[in-house]
Symmetry: C2
Subunit: 399 residues, 2 copies
């Protein structure tokens, strides 16, 4: 199955999966693995997504000792939100219950699987957040030498939840975009598989989100799927997942894919508004949705091409609506990080503008746990009443 | 099915499930719901544990809108640990991937289901940690009026992750044990279903952990199941789950149940050592395993009776071994809160003393996420190397 080809998303050049390539060797745009067409889902397999969807992956071995139980996350229907916003149904895909509490675990697991099949003993990534923790954890599980390159100015509260997994952590001082490219160059040179945000197998891992949504809706997929978008790897994977199931005849249509960004860092949404197929660096990025604050996303152009091809949408939402949506989600039981709330905020905006009609169904991807970014509490006026135990009765009786 | 009886675990008095009783009305010891005997597991049902194990619950309705996707957590085999400690197999049941990132969600969901069937519109709990967040989240999901009673001296970093779910929070100043009893009294008086740590339906919820372990080992259950133990509700539920599957003929034996405590707060382990069936208040409790720091557990006596009946074990572990085990677990990819690491620490101790042989298999319950207690980072010397991007090559080449 490693005979499947890697195809450049821009120029169409093809490469072998037996090499660890992150970008097209000709035009430097992202690569994508050829589509998998199959009707075969191993519905008996409940614990390993890569076994369940085996025929949609190019792996030769099962590598089950690598899994931390990633994927198989709940898809919740939120009737109270559907009623409030006047749409037919709202689904919430809760990726916060992955092993390191974000969607990144799917792509990490897929990439490590590939790395091991190619014989790598060293892996790494460039990240200061969800992906860093994910790669550190799965690298530990697989017993690989794991290097995490982080921004030079990373605060200790972001460093600690990565460092705890005992990977090698290096604070690299300098331009962050250069770090991404430099890691790929050094990885090639020294035999380190850098599984950065939009490498082909990370995209493949993310497609299992789409597969699960298909199964969880009994193949009656929603009209819209809304994805907080940063580097572009996750949205590309989710779109590819629906595309493969559609071409396999498993679902009747591909949902409209929505790239949701924060107004404070919206390079993809801004290019989309201008009908451009090329992103520009977003100046002075600033948003509470740190996990998607990427001013120059490496898969940005490919996300624009994909949205254009699929009649998808890109939308940017205000800081205020992100905070509001985070509280709304917590108010129905799901505490997510601000970046995740961007998907609900985008849904509300698309409903207001009429892009989503009252007869339509939409799914929001909730990408990571609220416990990952507790600094946000400072923005809220969270408080408690106070009394002596002897006075408790008065408080409970009156309410 | 609400015709099932509530039975006092000490005096055998019986009560109706149509009342919301937390304790025996005669002797004040904990109540337990009559055993369910069935061979019926709905293996087609993958999203709702209360539907999957429907015939082991007394519910009349399906109440599926209450679920946040609790349960169905991974059971990982850890061959590196098994080799290191010289046992046949070590399983890790990862409860950190529940909707509020602890095992509490199972018992909360079961209790809310019961509350709704009895017509309650108000619920509550007494907790400053995992259970508080869980009840606040599920109360929000169910649209119930939810009151969380917390200790008067709760720090804001523990309050915030509960407050975000928008429940009513009351800091109650005074003796914490009295608060437990007072909440039950006021709940009865004002129609508030207080789902405290060892109420019957919380115990019922926890038994799904055992059910899942049975299924995940293909009914070839481990010899030992090791559970961090505080109030006693979780261990009672897990034991009941194995007992019900055993009496139903689904498993060949009940695993040896191990109550794992921290030496700094070990009322159950201390009584067990003395061959006593009655706990005494543990003086000056102090442990990094805050989530199980209960000096006078309300189900303590019943846990002792259960261990006596089942030839179970209670063991206390040192602070040092808790820290060490937390790092070991993170070093294989699972970042758990210190209380969870107590189960691995207990396994190592039982192996050292020969209580677990090299031919035996053991499962550790990992109760909650490490992100819940980040203060522990201060205890570790977590650090990163630092360099300019230009110097990165030197670092990556030499290693």
């Amino acid at each position: 199955m490693l005979e499947k080809k890697l195809i450049c998303t821009a120029c169409g050049s093809t490469f072998s999966l037996r090499e660890n390539l992150a970008r097209c060797q000709k035009c430097r745009e992202p690569l994508e693995i050829e589509e998998f067409i199959s009707k075969n889902i191993d519905t008996e397999e409940r614990s390993d997504i890569f076994k369940r969807y085996k025929s949609f992956f190019p792996f030769q071995s099962s590598c089950s000792g690598l899994s931390l139980g990633e994927g198989m996350t709940p898809l919740l229907s939120a009737p109270s939100f559907a009623e409030k916003y006047g749409v037919k149904e709202i689904f919430l895909k809760n990726e916060t219950v992955n092993p390191t509490w974000s969607f990144k675990d799917r792509g990490t697991a897929a990439s490590i699987h590939h790395a091991i099949e190619l014989g790598f003993r060293r892996i790494g990534t460039v990240s200061t957040g969800n992906m860093a923790a994910s790669v550190a954890a799965f690298g530990a599980r697989a017993g690989l030498e794991t290097t995490i390159l982080v921004k030079g100015d990373i605060p200790s509260e972001k460093l600690n939840p990565v460092a705890i997994y005992n990977a090698r952590l290096i604070k690299a001082l300098g331009d962050y975009d250069r770090l991404y490219e430099e890691s790929l160059r050094l990885g090639e040179r020294y035999g380190i598989y850098f599984m950065n945000s939009d490498v082909p197998f990370r995209v493949e891992g993310s497609k299992t989100i789409a597969f699960e949504i298909c199964e969880q809706t009994e193949f009656n997929v929603p009209d819209f799927v809304i994805i907080p978008t940063s580097a572009g790897g996750n949205i590309r994977g989710i779109e590819k997942g629906f595309r493969e199931f559609y071409k396999s005849g498993l679902i009747p249509h591909i949902p409209t894919i929505v790239a949701a960004q924060a107004e404070g860092c919206a390079p993809i949404a801004r290019a989309y508004e201008k009908n451009s197929l090329t992103i520009e660096r977003f100046p002075n990025p600033h948003t509470v949705a740190h996990a998607i604050e990427n001013p120059f996303p490496p898969s940005g152009n490919q996300v624009l091409r994909m949205l254009h091809r699929q009649r998808g949408v890109a939308v940017a939402v205000s800081e205020e609506s992100i905070y509001e949506s985070q509280l709304e989600l917590a108010g129905m039981g799901l505490f997510v990080q601000p970046a995740s709330a961007v998907s609900l905020a985008a849904l509300k905006k698309l409903r207001q503008t009429g892009s989503i009609s009252s007869e339509q169904r939409a799914a929001c991807i909730l990408t990571g746990s609220g416990l990952k970014y507790t600094a946000v509490f400072d923005a809220y006026n969270l408080n408690a009443e106070e009394c002596l135990i002897d006075d408790l009765e008065k408080l409970l009786a009156v309410k």
